[in-house]
Structure formats: structure tokens, C-alpha cells
Amino acid sequence: MALSIAAIASVVVLITVFEGFKSGLSAQVRSYVDSLTAPLVVIQAGADSTAAVRSAVPAELVQKLTAAPEVQAVHPVLIVRSIFEHADHKTPVSVVGYEERGGPARIVAGRPVAGPDEAVFDRGLMRKHGLSLGDQVAVFGRRFKVVGVSSGTSSLLGSYIFVSLETLQTIASGFPETTGQATEAPTMLLVDLAPGVTASEAQIRLGALSADVRVVTPDFLAGNDVRAVNDIMGSAMTFLVYAAYVVGLLVVGLTFYGGVLERHSEFGIVKALGAGNRWLYAYVLAYSAALTAAALAIGIAASQGVASLIPEIAPQYLVVAWDPRVIFRTSVAALGIALIASAFPILRVSRVDPAMVFRR
């Protein structure tokens, strides 16, 4: 029985990990934008997310916004996508140029950026590329010193690197002496509101200042970032979750079937004593339910351990195994699988011949 419970618990772990991976991806994708503490964000009109979509806000709008009575301060942020290459590894990254706001919300080692050639790297990115605090690395062909390590700034789609806004604007403008553009336009403007001004009223008034931009909340942006990722990864993730369910069904069915086989002489005795197939079916279902309930408790507990282990092996992934929605979906799936998988042993039990009791 211990083995059976272990097998079913491993299926619970499998399903929880896959469901938790899907939830974790959403949590990671919105993590950076969720950490922006500004009540409002200004982005290019037509843009609705920061994930894989370009936004460029006219730089002259900063003065216009700053002068608005609703606004206390405006903080430009520039995000440029690139591929970070180091030690034979390549990782898609979002390089964030910031001043006072828009930088890493959580620094777990070192300090924030203080100079033009300094950078804060995501912890998972550091680990993947074998980097340490103080290392010199190339980003966009320019040397930076790693002065800080951030957490919560990584996902399947890439990691974040934080540098000073001025440095990134210079890099991103490419060739200012040729293009005539002094600096690259910011991706977004973080807006702090004056005391007593609500976000909803400021959103309407500031939005009317220019037709080239739209004013949104960080939550709106983060939600659309998740939606953008689902547009890209949705089919694949759904396929993998369903595949996990099918594998789970087979394993649980096998476990129940094995359990019935071990007891088939007992079933023969019970049948010989007059029990009908209906009684045996009820027994099998009760047996399956009891095993599944025990395995569910153990499996959910074990999945927490596995979920915390996965980021150690693959730092850019997050498995949200403690989410009540994930646990609920897994529990329902496990019980449903147990019900369906009971068909195998029920089929076997119906064929037990009471006469086999008398055989050696």
C-alpha cells in the first residue's frame, strides 16, 4: 500500500508542478511591472504591455506632464530587449534604464546602480552565466560592472538587467552623430501624483494631454504582459498540462490495478461467501478514494519541496505550488483521475472466479 500511495503521490506532484509552472510563469512575467510603485504609467498609444511590444513616449512629454497640476513627479524608464551572451550561454534580457524609480524592487546582494558603467543583474541570470558581484560584463558591446543582484526579475521569456537611464539612452540611440537623435525616447513614464489627486481622475486629464500616448495603471500593464505571454506560450503549456493528466491517469490506473491483483484471492473468498460484483465495485471505489486522499495530502506536501527545488536547478523558472487555485485544480484532477482509473481494477474484479479459492 505504501508503494501505491507513493506512486499516486508522484502523479499529484507531477500535475501540481505542471499547473504550478503555468501559474508561476504568469507571476514572473508580471513581477517587474507589479513592483512599479507609481499609480500611473504613460506608454505609447497603441501599446498595451511591456512584454515583447515596443513603446516609445515622446521625450518632450516629460516637461508637459511635470507641469500638470495633478503630477508631483515624472520618472522616465527605458526598456530595450537584447540577448546577453557570456560564457557560451545566451539569454534574452530586458535592459532597463532608470533614474530614481523603475529599478529593481528587491536587491538581495550588493547595491543599486550609482554610476554610468554599473549594472544590477537578476539572480537567476547571474547563476546561469556563472557571474559574481564585481564581475565586468559586456552588454550591447559596452563594459559594465555588476554591483547588485536582484530577485523576482526573471521569467521564461528572459531576465532583467538594470543600468542608468542616461547610459542606456546613449547606447540605444545608436549613432547620435549620424541620426541626429541625442537620446532614445523612453519606453514609459512613471507618474507620481500630487497629494489628494486620485489615479482615476488624473488618468483622464493626463490622457488628454497628447494623442500619442495613453495613461494606464501598472496592474493594466501587468495583466496584458501575462496575456501576451499566454498568446505565445498558451497552446504549448496547455498541451503539457493535458499530457501530464494522461500520464497521471495511466499511473494511477496501474497502481489500482496492481492493488486489486494482490488481493484477488481475497476477492475470490468474498465472492465465494456470496458478495456480488456490486459490493466489489463499491469496495474498489472506496479503496481508490482512500488511497487517493492519502496520496493527495502527501503529494501536495511533496510538491512544495519539488517546487522550491526547481528554481535551484533552473533559476529562471518559478513553480507556484502553494497557490490555492493550483491545489484545488490538482485535487479535483486527482480525484477525477482516480474515478476513471478505477475502471481497470473494476474490470478485473468482475472476472474473479470464486472457485479459485479452492485452488493452490
Binding site: I83, F140, S173, G174, A243, V251
Partner: protein, 369 residues
């Protein structure tokens, strides 16, 4: 020994079938995930492969297209065109964006191209034009099919409305469908000023692309020039590395499940066949022979499961694009080899528990009720 192994294996056909199915399921999971990443990696490099360019010129420090940003001055086009061996230099603008139509959304590479340029545009036009007119857009056929629109209908990209001027084939994928808009329209939307993203360079007849790439880099400061072959390899490596860690994790999970499934079955079978093993032991069979039987059974189950997994994986490769047109799987030899090795190790590890039981079987069990 073989006869005993076969007899035990087939004594419970349903259990054998379910065990093999469980192993096949675990291995298919690993194959499917690896195959998905391989298939997507191949789709990611479709545009550079089909662009018609021999050499790609980009901003210094950049060596990819997927999820990368490159900015070059338009004026560099003249310098590039005059390098010895260059037949044609085509500028393109490139950004990732979301295309929206009829309530549907697709993530896409958006390529800004010019009329009259020989390279960089779509290679298989199903309807309409290859290069859109001002205000027009050329989209993959899958977009049109999924959203039910056609030539002349309108859709939104980068916040602007465009008219569908062309529908193409072979330009759709989960990670990077290809959408084409007029170069000038895109420059206006991006506030790009006099810049381009990449120059697609066609080499003259008989010109070696690698030598040309080297000359281009020397002649035009601040650029990186790569042959199409190297550029494609760079994107392919990057795409594969993105999935490498998660594939490792899922392979481990698939492995554990496979070991659990076979180990559980083998242990149960060993217990239920205890009398037969007792008889065989009483007749003089050594523990080593009986352990060999158990190991062979495990190997047979895993081998059958592996065979079915390969069959299912091949079926998946045919069926998946019909069920979800944005998914494609590919199984290179290295992936199948990796799964085969995992299956082999699985067979050995899953034999441990039942093999542990064998030496503890007493021949006297034969005489017990």
C-alpha cells in the same frame, strides 16, 4: 530464464499493457517537450533562412534577431553597398508586436520592407501582394483563417489600423509569425528616425559570404556582420538554451515517473509470482539467475514503452499541427538518444526494488498455504 521471463511478463496482459502505457506516457512527455522546443527553435530561424540574404549586418554587440534589438543609421546603406562583393544591401525595420483582428491576437515579428527590394519579403504569397502598399499589411494565412478575414479587411498592429494587402504561406509559428508592413509606415510608428534594424546583404556571384562579412565589419565601424548560416545558428542556439533547463527538469520528472511505474509493476509481479520463484529456487536456480529474470522483464517493459513512445511521438508530429496550428515538434537524433539513455537507466533503477526481494524468497514458500 527467457521462458520464465516471458511467462511472467505475459501472465497479466492488462497489467503489462498499462505498465507499458505508463512508461510510454512518461517518455512521450519528455519527447514532446524536447520536440516542442526543437520545433519552435526551427520556426524561429525561418525568416533569416528564407530572407534571401547571404550576410546580415547589425549593430555591434548584437548577434541575434529573436528577442534582440539592433539599430543602424540609414546612411550606412551606402557604405555597405560600396564594399567589394556586395550585390545588394536591403534595409529592414524589425520589432515584435501583437497583431489584433476580430477579437483574436497573435504575437508576431513585424518587418518593415520597401517596394522593389529583392530580399527580406515573404517568399510564398497565397493572395494579394508580397510588399504592402502604404497603409497595408501582409499577414500569415493562419491569421486569416483563424479570424476569418480576407484581403481588404482591416486589423490593428502597434496601435494603428492597417488594410490587408497580402496573405502568405509558411510564415506562421507560435513564437514568431511574420507580418510585413511598409518601411515608412513602420518608421513613423516606431519614431525610428533615419535608422534601420538590419541590412540584408546579397553577395555577388562567386563571392564567399564569410569573406564578405569580414570585409563589411572592417569597412563599416560599429557593426557586426554575420553570414546567414552563422546568424541562423546563433538564433537556434539561443532558442535551444532558453529551453535547456526546463527540459532537464521535465526529463528528470519523466524519468522518476517511468522508474516508479515499472518499479511498482515489477515489485507487484515479484510478490505475486513468489511461489513460482520459490519453485524455481527449490529446483536449483540461483539468486543471480532470478534477478536476471527480473531485470530482463524491466528491460522488456521499458523497451516496449520506448517503442510505443517513439510511435506516439511520430503520430504527435503529424497530428499536432492539425489540432493546434501554432505548434510544431521536431525530434533530432540527439533528443531521441537522450531519451533512450534515460530509458536504459530507468530499466536498471526500476529493477532494484524487485531484485532486492528475490534473495529473500525462501524455497519453502512453495509448501505454505
Amino acid at each position: 530464464m527467457l521462458r520464465l521471463m516471458w511467462s511472467d511478463l505475459t501472465s497479466e496482459p492488462l497489467r503489462l499493457a498499462v505498465t507499458v502505457a505508463g512508461v510510454a506516457g512518461a517518455l512521450v512527455l519528455v519527447l514532446a517537450l524536447g520536440g516542442l522546443f526543437e520545433g519552435t527553435s526551427e520556426k524561429i530561424v525561418t525568416y533569416p533562412q528564407r530572407s534571401g540574404a547571404d550576410v546580415w549586418v547589425m549593430q555591434e554587440g548584437v548577434s541575434n534577431m529573436h528577442m534582440a534589438t539592433s539599430i543602424l543609421p540609414q546612411s550606412y546603406g551606402e557604405a555597405i553597398s560600396t564594399v567589394d562583393g556586395v550585390e545588394q544591401a536591403t534595409p529592414i525595420l524589425y520589432v515584435s508586436g501583437v497583431v489584433e483582428a476580430e477579437g483574436q491576437r497573435w504575437f508576431s515579428y513585424v518587418i518593415g520592407i520597401r517596394e522593389g527590394e529583392p530580399n527580406g519579403g515573404p517568399w510564398d504569397v497565397a493572395q494579394g501582394r508580397a510588399v504592402p502598399d502604404p497603409g497595408g499589411i501582409v499577414v500569415p494565412d493562419v491569421f486569416a483563417r483563424q479570424a476569418g478575414f480576407g484581403l481588404g479587411d482591416r486589423l490593428t498592429i502597434l496601435g494603428a489600423s492597417f488594410r490587408v494587402d497580402g496573405i502568405t504561406r509558411g510564415t506562421y509559428s507560435m513564437a514568431n509569425s511574420l507580418t510585413f508592413v511598409p518601411f515608412e509606415d513602420m518608421a513613423r510608428l516606431l519614431s525610428a528616425g533615419p535608422t534601420v534594424s538590419y541590412y540584408l546583404v546579397k553577395a555577388g556571384d562567386g563571392v564567399d559570404p564569410q569573406g564578405l562579412a569580414t570585409r563589411l565589419e572592417s569597412a563599416v565601424a560599429g557593426t557586426n556582420a554575420m553570414t546567414t548560416e552563422d546568424f541562423v545558428a546563433s538564433d537556434r542556439v539561443m532558442a535551444r538554451q532558453m529551453g535547456a533547463d526546463i527540459i532537464q527538469v521535465m526529463t528528470l520528472i519523466g524519468f522518476v515517473i517511468g522508474v516508479g511505474v515499472v518499479g511498482l509493476t515489477m515489485y507487484g509481479a515479484t510478490v505475486s509470482h513468489a511461489r513460482e520463484y520459490g519453485v524455481v529456487k527449490a529446483l536449483g536456480a540461483t539468486n543471480r539467475r532470478l534477478i536476471g529474470v527480473v531485470v530482463l522483464q524491466a528491460v522488456a517493459m521499458i523497451a516496449l514503452g520506448f517503442g510505443f513512445a517513439i510511435g506516439l511521438a511520430l503520430l504527435l508530429r503529424q497530428a499536432l499541427p492539425l489540432m493546434a496550428s501554432d505548434l510544431a515538434v521536431s525530434y533530432p537524433g540527439a533528443l531521441i538518444g537522450r531519451v533512450a539513455v534515460a530509458a536504459g537507466v530507468m530499466a536498471v533503477v526500476s529493477s532494484v526494488l524487485p531484485a532486492w526481494r528475490i534473495p529473500r524468497l525462501e524455497p519453502v514458500i512453495v509448501f505454505k498455504e
